[in-house]
């Protein structure tokens, strides 16, 4: 009898354990975005222009080099930082200058930015400069309807004409 009571008491004490595991394995739900919000993911990976022009080596310079390294054309490896701006409904919401990757700064510059936004109709203006010279060399202006929960990806691909809104 005493053993039976003990087992019943044990079963009762297992209940809080089961409730704890069962509840917190899925609850409470975490709301990381409002019910009326959409999400913009601004992201690209772009190799900007090099910071200088290529030039011919002089005969004296070539003579100083080992024979197997006497390339007549020398180009600087370093690339320019990529400047990016994003305006939504005329308001600047993101601005950055992404540095080229790599020890010699000759790799692609990358950007990833997560921007929650209220669902609805918005005008987006994205600008990008991938050169040393000032100003923006790429710009695109679109107006889109965003439903709640929609993900808008703003990518950049120079070979495809610049900004892509997906």
């Amino acid at each position: 009898m005493k053993t039976a009571l003990r087992f019943i008491a044990q079963a009762l004490l297992y209940l809080p354990f089961m409730v704890l595991i069962g509840y917190f394995s899925t609850s409470p739900a975490y709301r990381h975005l409002g019910a009326d919000q959409a999400l913009i993911r601004l992201s690209f990976s772009h190799a900007a222009q090099r910071i200088g022009e290529c030039r011919q080596r002089t005969p004296e310079e070539l003579a100083k080099l080992p024979p197997n390294m006497r390339a007549p054309l020398v180009c600087p490896r370093e690339r320019a930082p990529v400047a990016i701006e994003l305006e939504i409904d005329g308001k600047l919401v993101y601005q950055a200058a992404a540095s080229p990757s790599g020890f010699t700064r000759d790799g692609a510059a990358t950007v990833y930015q997560r921007l929650p936004i209220a669902a609805g109709r918005h005008r987006f203006t994205a600008r990008l400069n991938d050169r040393v010279a000032p100003g923006f060399h790429y710009e695109r202006d679109v107006t889109l309807d965003l439903e709640p929960g929609r993900v808008l990806v703003i990518d950049f691909n120079a070979s495809q004409g610049g900004f892509l809104f997906k």
Binding site: R6, A9, Q10, L13, Y14, F17, M18, L20, I21, G22, F24, S25, T26, S27, A29, Y30, R31, H32, L33, G34, A35, Q37, A38, L39, R41, S43, S45, S101, G102, G107, A108, T110, V111, Y112, R114, P148, G149, R150, V151, V153, D155, K166
Partner: protein, 620 residues
């Protein structure tokens, strides 16, 4: 409980509050589950158990899982709905056992932290446990990716964004999850590889984690095992694990059903920032790793081996809770004492912290060579860095018997801070103190020239036992009781009175059973042994070994000739002196119904008496 580290002042208050809150819960569970099935006392074993449940259920799920973008979600759904009685239950068990694993690991960590069990000889177990937290979380998080539902999508992007905060990748990981079509089947092959590899690494880490403990508690008892398994099974049936909608990278789910055991820190990515979470994680990991250093304190002397008294029986090796004693082939070194004389150099007493073994004394001539003992003969060697200074090895040593006739009692393995000879002397003093209540020195009617105990022979009764009323001054029904206590359990000294002598040891496992017989033969009518609560020994196994020794299930036994009705073992933890007093009163009552203790002699006893008397009387 281990002394609080002095270097962390706030820790003391936290520790006291935590232990104060935890101890009543543990003891309440003892009443219902008994120590062997009390989950609070077997959190490490439960962690292993949950790991194995998750592994077994995971193997079943793996058989049916499709490692592809299209197939991952579908195969999990088929398992959940198509075979709810098997696959669905297995999936739920997999999830809930994994969650329970986090709970048991965190409670295990907190409990050890509050008990101060992270420094000194325990540093390795503590430090090796810290990376397991990372492996555990990583194993679980990768598992959630595999389902490839909305939760998996959230975790994938959040994890990628978290790692992108580190300057490790030339291109953001999150770009791999930008739009539908950017995820391919190879990702799931990689994830499955991680979901198998990480738990395997976790298992290897768990194996390392328990390397420095002997008889590690890595499997719960039958009652506890079945209890927790049935609880998880019931939960799996009552609330089966399900998926959210399938992942769709074109959409974002505003609210996700997080598993808070594994993903509790994910909201911080968005409430704070990924870098802040990295800083928090790095700081917490560094703090956990640095705790043993912060709490560093002077270590007590470790056990030392006396080769002259070590017969290589291996009981200390078998009983050491922390694998600090190893057995090595015996070698007796010889030092040159003269032109042709060589003397065996045995039994050096190393200084505290120094290892034991055979070595030449500094003031003697050089070591000329060493020879082995008998083939196969071994001796114990203490590894100082592993020694907990608990004295359990001393209690296991067959040489730790107070009946030995030598003037100075030296045992095979001893504790410098409480040598067995001191234990015998203090025990005798205590026995004399209750005896002196009846027979002040020089007044005993049966002895015309009574001598102090120190001048008596071994095996000779400290107090000749007389019936009440025959000049003893003892009231009818009163009985003398010797209480052996543990330095970490209920304070034996709280029971001290005119007819109760008390004596406390480093750990109750240090008590050689022969001392119980010795007390009974030398004036005590009964012996009460106060051990810590079962499963609550500061050194893990002290109370268990003692219980087994008294029950005759472990060497050295309490001899069968010792009257068991006069010996009582009580489990009373720190602060439970009232339990001790209650048991003492019960023992008193039981002893009062028994005749006065009659000293019994055996052939061994006679030998020890004669030998001891001769030697000691000569010196006296």
């Amino acid at each position: 409980m281990t002394a609080m580290p002095q270097t962390v002042p706030a820790y003391g208050a936290i520790q006291a509050a935590g232990v104060g809150a935890l101890r009543p819960i543990e003891r309440a569970f003892d009443a219902v589950f008994q120590a062997a099935a009390n989950p609070w006392r077997h959190l490490g074993a439960l962690s292993f158990f949950f790991f194995w449940i998750a592994t077994a259920s995971g193997i079943y799920l793996y058989i049916f899982f499709d490692t592809s973008v299209e197939g991952a979600y579908r195969s999990v759904e088929e398992l959940t709905d198509g075979q709810w009685y098997a696959g669905g239950v297995m999936r739920s068990l997999h999830r809930y056992a994994s969650d329970a694993l986090v709970v048991s690991v965190v409670l295990h960590l907190v409990k050890e932290l509050l008990a101060g069990r992270f420094a000194g000889f325990r540093w390795f177990s503590w430090v090796s446990g810290v990376p397991l937290l990372w492996l555990l979380l990583a194993s679980g998080i990768v598992g959630y990716w595999l389902v490839w539902d909305e939760l998996a999508q959230f975790i994938a992007l959040a994890t990628a964004e978290w790692f992108d905060a580190l300057p490790l990748f030339s291109e953001p990981l999150a770009r791999n999850f930008l739009a539908p079509g950017s995820v391919d089947d190879r990702l799931f092959t990689l994830l499955m590889f991680l979901h198998i590899g990480l738990p395997l690494a976790l298992l290897a880490g768990m194996f390392i984690h328990v390397q420095r403990v002997n008889y590690g508690d890595v499997a719960p008892g039958r009652v506890l095992g079945w209890g927790t398994f049935l609880a998880l099974l019931a939960l799996s049936l009552a609330r089966p694990a399900t998926s959210m909608d399938p992942a769709n990278l074109a959409l974002v789910t505003q609210a996700v059903a997080l598993d808070w055991f594994y993903l509790a820190f994910y909201p911080l990515f968005y409430e704070w920032s990924p870098n802040a979470v990295w800083a928090l994680a790095a700081a917490a990991t560094a703090a956990l790793l640095a705790l043993p250093l912060a709490a560093r304190r002077a270590r007590p002397p470790v056990a030392h081996v006396d080769l002259a008294n070590c017969n290589g029986c291996g009981r200390c090796f078998a009983d050491c809770p922390y694998a600090a004693v190893v057995m090595r082939p015996r070698q007796l070194s010889f030092v040159q004492m003269g032109d042709n004389a060589f003397a065996p150099q045995i039994s050096p007493l190393p200084s505290p912290g120094e290892g034991s073994g055979v070595r030449a004394e500094r003031n003697q001539v050089s070591l000329r060579g060493s020879v082995g003992g008998r083939p196969g003969q071994q001796h114990a060697v203490v590894i100082p860095g592993l020694c907990a200074s608990c004295g359990i090895c001393t209690g296991a040593c067959p040489s730790s018997t107070p009946f030995r006739s030598s003037q100075r009692l030296v045992t095979g393995i001893d504790m410098p801070q409480q040598p067995i000879d001191t234990v015998r002397q203090e025990l005798e003093r205590e026995l004399l103190s209750i005896a002196e209540e009846r027979y002040p020195l020089g007044s005993h009617p049966s002895s015309p020239h009574p001598r102090p105990l120190s001048q008596k022979g071994r095996g000779e009764a400290i107090v000749p036992l007389l019936p009440p009323g025959e000049g003893s001054g003892m009231r009818e029904g009163e009985r003398r009781v010797m209480v052996f206590g543990c330095g970490h359990g209920a304070a034996a000294a709280a029971c001290k009175s005119r007819d109760v002598a008390t004596f406390s040891l480093l750990c109750i496992g240090m008590l050689p059973p022969a001392f119980i017989e010795y007390a009974l033969r030398n004036g005590a009518d009964g012996v009460l042994i106060a051990a810590c609560r079962e499963g609550d020994c500061e050194y893990r196994l002290g109370e268990r070994w003692l219980g087994e020794r008294l029950a005759g299930a472990r060497e050295p036994h309490l001899r069968p000739s010792v009257p068991r009705e006069r010996v009582r073992l009580v489990y009373a933890g720190c602060g439970e002196e009232s339990v001790l007093r209650r048991e003492l009163a019960s023992l008193h009552a039981a002893l009062a119904r028994l005749p006065r203790n009659q000293r019994r002699r055996s052939s061994r006893d006679k030998f020890s008496v004669s030998a001891g008397m001769t030697k000691r009387n000569v010196q006296a």
